[in-house]
């Protein structure tokens, strides 16, 4: 293209008003999008990106290759020093400003995109903490805010790795506890029985993100002899007698975050560790998923953006037939197509985050759309790199492996599609 045809030069041929109506600055979509955010969130977005670049990116490949060699607790503390691990709640409990309650989901979505663009696994490890404390928040239990959330956040502010985990999935009931129809006939395997002063819980939970490193665990169990109507949320701490960590899973991707089995053998849980009320577990779980699924959409968006950024950098530097790859029209078409899909994903997540409160259809739709799209973007990025696409060193195949999990956790995409319909079944569609 001749220089005089470049938009920023062509703009100068217009009058003053015409120039003001023509945004021809060669800026990234990221910069344009950030400009649409309230100032405080725009600043937060920059901070998340800076943190990801300095703390997460340098560890990403190593965490994928050898997860045990990366200290997740140190990363957690580094994020905590920035206030990132205590910002779900407003003062006096957390670091969220009251004005930000209007953007309850937008802020974690921005964080998820930036962290996971650097590494889906390490990003998940940091974000799963918020999932762990989410039941304390959504139960609306002031006693839990004051007594437990305040305490957990206090520990974090003091520099302790007070990581939280959210434990619902069981070996025989994965999707059941994430879907209404399955829930009615779910074969639960974690039970509690009332005893003087509290409860005894036995059973197993599996695939628990942060399970092996968590100090605090929000765990769901049903009263013995009952079903999900008596499902109850408890706050456990890792030091409780009878609570142990079983196997740590060997995953295809997101390997920088731990996923472990929790084994409960007659664990005594004091009565004041019930979150919400007895039997409120199902409602708490459903609402946690309403809050978390748009963030999973943002995780998928971040992973796909990471794949795009790596592919784009490769195409600028690699040469084929003596020319940079990005000089080829088919490469430009492929990169543009990825950018278009990333833009659509971000629009979906940000739209879901605009609701005053998230609801089942909005969260599930964002999660399904973004995770499916992320998978296709990452695979296209791999194809664009040709044989380089399957090499670990370029990070694109890692992103694809990371992206695949977003179609599975927080309910498989099949379960989420059913959730979208379920919540809209009786609604007027037009």
């Amino acid at each position: 293209m001749k220089l005089q045809l470049a938009p920023e030069v062509a703009r100068l041929s217009l009058g003053r008003l015409g120039q003001r109506l023509y945004d021809a600055q060669p800026r990234s979509i990221w910069a344009h999008d950030t400009e649409t955010l309230p100032r405080r969130l725009a600043l937060a977005r920059h901070r998340y990106r800076d943190f990801a670049a300095s703390e997460i990116t340098p560890l990403a490949l190593q965490a994928d290759r050898d997860p045990a060699s990366v200290d997740g607790r140190a990363l957690f503390r580094a994020a905590a020093r920035q206030g990132f691990q205590t910002e779900m709640m407003p003062a006096p409990w957390g670091g969220l400003r009251l004005r930000s309650l209007r953007h309850l989901l937008l802020q974690p979505s921005l964080k998820a995109e930036e962290f996971c663009a650097a590494c889906g696994g390490l990003g998940l490890g940091l974000l799963a903490h918020e999932l762990g404390v989410a039941p304390l928040f959504v139960a609306g239990d002031l006693r839990a805010y004051t007594r437990w959330l305040g305490r957990i956040y206090g520990e974090i502010r003091r520099g302790e790795p007070a990581i939280a985990a959210f434990a619902i999935t069981e070996p025989g009931a994965g999707s059941d506890v994430e879907e209404t129809e399955g829930a009615a006939t779910a074969r639960l395997g974690t039970w509690y029985r009332p005893v003087p002063g509290g409860y005894r819980i036995s059973g197993r939970k599996c695939f628990i993100s942060n399970g092996a490193v968590a100090r605090w665990i929000t765990l769901f169990a049903a009263e013995a002899g009952h079903g999900l109507e008596r499902w109850t949320c408890f706050l456990l701490d890792s030091g409780m007698q009878g609570l142990s960590v079983g196997r740590s899973e060997r995953k295809m991707g997101q390997r920088g975050s731990d996923a472990s089995e929790l084994v409960l053998e007659e664990v005594f849980v004091p009565a004041d560790r019930v979150i919400g009320r007895e039997g409120a577990g199902w409602a708490i779980c459903r609402n946690v998923l309403n809050f978390s699924r748009p963030v999973v959409g943002a995780i998928a968006l971040g992973i796909a953006r990471g794949a795009f950024e790596h592919a784009s950098a490769f195409c600028r530097s690699a040469r084929l037939g003596g020319r940079p790859l990005c000089d080829y029209q088919e490469v430009q078409l492929a990169l543009a197509d990825m950018l278009i899909r990333l833009t659509a994903m971000r629009a979906t997540v940000w739209h879901a985050a605009r609701y005053r409160l998230p609801f089942q259809a909005s969260g599930a739709a964002a999660k399904v759309f973004c995770s499916d799209t992320a998978w296709s973007v990452c695979n296209d990025a791999m194809a664009l790199l040709g044989d380089h696409g399957y090499l670990h060193t370029h990070s694109v195949e890692k992103a694809a492996r990371d992206a695949r999990l977003t179609q599975i956790y927080e309910g498989t995409n099949q379960i989420n599609r059913l959730a979208v319909f379920e919540s809209q079944r009786g609604a007027e569609f037009l």
Binding site: K251, L320, T393
Partner: protein
């Protein structure tokens, strides 16, 4: 070769896979027991699957067509696509003269694979330099796939404006090898870059087109076998795992996934069969193989992904080996020539390709 004889080859491969390969894949470690691969390859040679006239891409395939080799590779890939790929690449090497543990060095980012490059070597191809009556190889070939323990390379190189084929031991002076490092899938194969800095060779004129055709058809077979294995595993899991009070095979969501996967696998099998039946000399056969590779690898990639989804969270863990199958499918989809190159090849109207 008739269908019965081809099926006999496939049955031999299936029995070998059950006896030898499945144990190697196991359930432990990311990709199974890779240390056992050299011994496995020796056993494959002993079973007649590699080397000799009737091994994969052996001399008999010149006369009988690619059917038996494709059937053997697909049957092996049902157990492990990586092991099958090792036999595929070793067989391709042998077909080009690098017998035993050999491989073919050819493609490079320095040039672009298109019809012009298939007809005459492009700028950037490895070339043969004539030095006082002796031929010496110069240039670079990248992403050379081989079975473990590669000993010699068949190299397509430019000589006097035409393609020529030469064979060089990888220990030869003037040859440098560089491993590509950790990869997504097909861990049972080796991949390396080679730099030729005056390695002495003998050469004969040879077009790379028959090699490319075999390469593409073999990759189709690997994708298909891998997807068949994933489908069998997903079907078995769906009739053993209960969710919502019923076997998951009874849930519409799972049946849709299985149905999609099965129809994709059936479509891929039919496509490959049709291409093999129409095998013949000339560019039309290369074109059809390229079109088949493009569609079959995409379809099988999607089928394996659907099969993994049937397993839910368990599919993402190493234990059930679905994640390994998906990593292999992801790798098979993009390894050279990848989708964009294949699309460019298919864009050209080649006489007789569509008839």
């Amino acid at each position: 070769m008739d269908a019965r004889a081809t099926e006999a080859f496939a049955e031999t491969a299936r029995r070998f896979a059950e006896r030898e390969v499945q144990a190697l894949v196991g359930t432990e470690g990311r990709d199974g027991d890779l240390e056992a691969l050299p011994r496995l390859l020796e056993r494959a040679e002993g079973a007649g699957l590699l080397g000799g006239d009737y091994g994969v891409w052996g001399a008999a395939s010149q006369e009988d067509g690619p059917g038996p080799s494709v059937a053997v590779l697909a049957a092996l890939a049902e157990a492990c696509a990586g092991v099958a790929a090792g036999l595929h690449f070793a067989g391709l090497g042998a077909a080009c003269g690098a017998t035993g543990r050999g491989a073919v060095a050819w493609l490079s980012p320095a040039w672009r694979l298109d019809w012009a490059a298939l007809r005459a070597p492009p700028v950037g191809a490895v070339r043969l330099r004539d030095e006082a009556g002796a031929l010496r190889l110069e240039g670079e070939a990248s992403f050379v796939h081989a079975a473990p323990g590669c000993e010699r390379l068949a190299v397509f190189a430019e000589h006097e404006g035409a393609w020529a084929l030469s064979v060089v031991p990888i220990e030869a002076p003037g040859l440098r090898r560089r491993e590509v490092g950790r990869r997504c899938g097909l861990a049972a194969t080796e991949v390396a870059h080679y730099a030729f800095e005056g390695a002495p060779v003998e050469a004969e004129p040879r077009s790379p087109q028959p090699h490319l055709r075999r390469l593409l058809l073999g990759l189709c077979a690997l994708s298909l076998g891998n997807a068949r294995g994933a489908l069998a595993a997903a079907r078995a899991y769906s009739t053993a795992r209960r969710q919502g009070g019923a076997l998951i095979a009874r849930h519409a969501a799972v049946r849709l996934l299985l149905g999609d996967a099965a129809s994709r696998v059936a479509g891929a099998a039919g496509h490959l069969e049709a291409v093999i039946e129409r095998e013949g000399p000339g560019e039309a056969a290369v074109w059809r193989a390229a079109a088949a590779r493009l569609r079959i690898s995409e379809a099988c990639h999607a089928a394996v992904s659907d099969c993994l989804q049937v397993f839910g969270g368990y599919g993402y863990m190493e234990d059930y080996r679905l994640e390994k199958r998906l990593r292999d499918a992801m790798t098979l989809r993009v390894l050279g020539p990848g989708p964009d190159t294949l699309r460019q090849l298919c864009a050209e109207p080649v006489r007789g390709a569509l008839r």
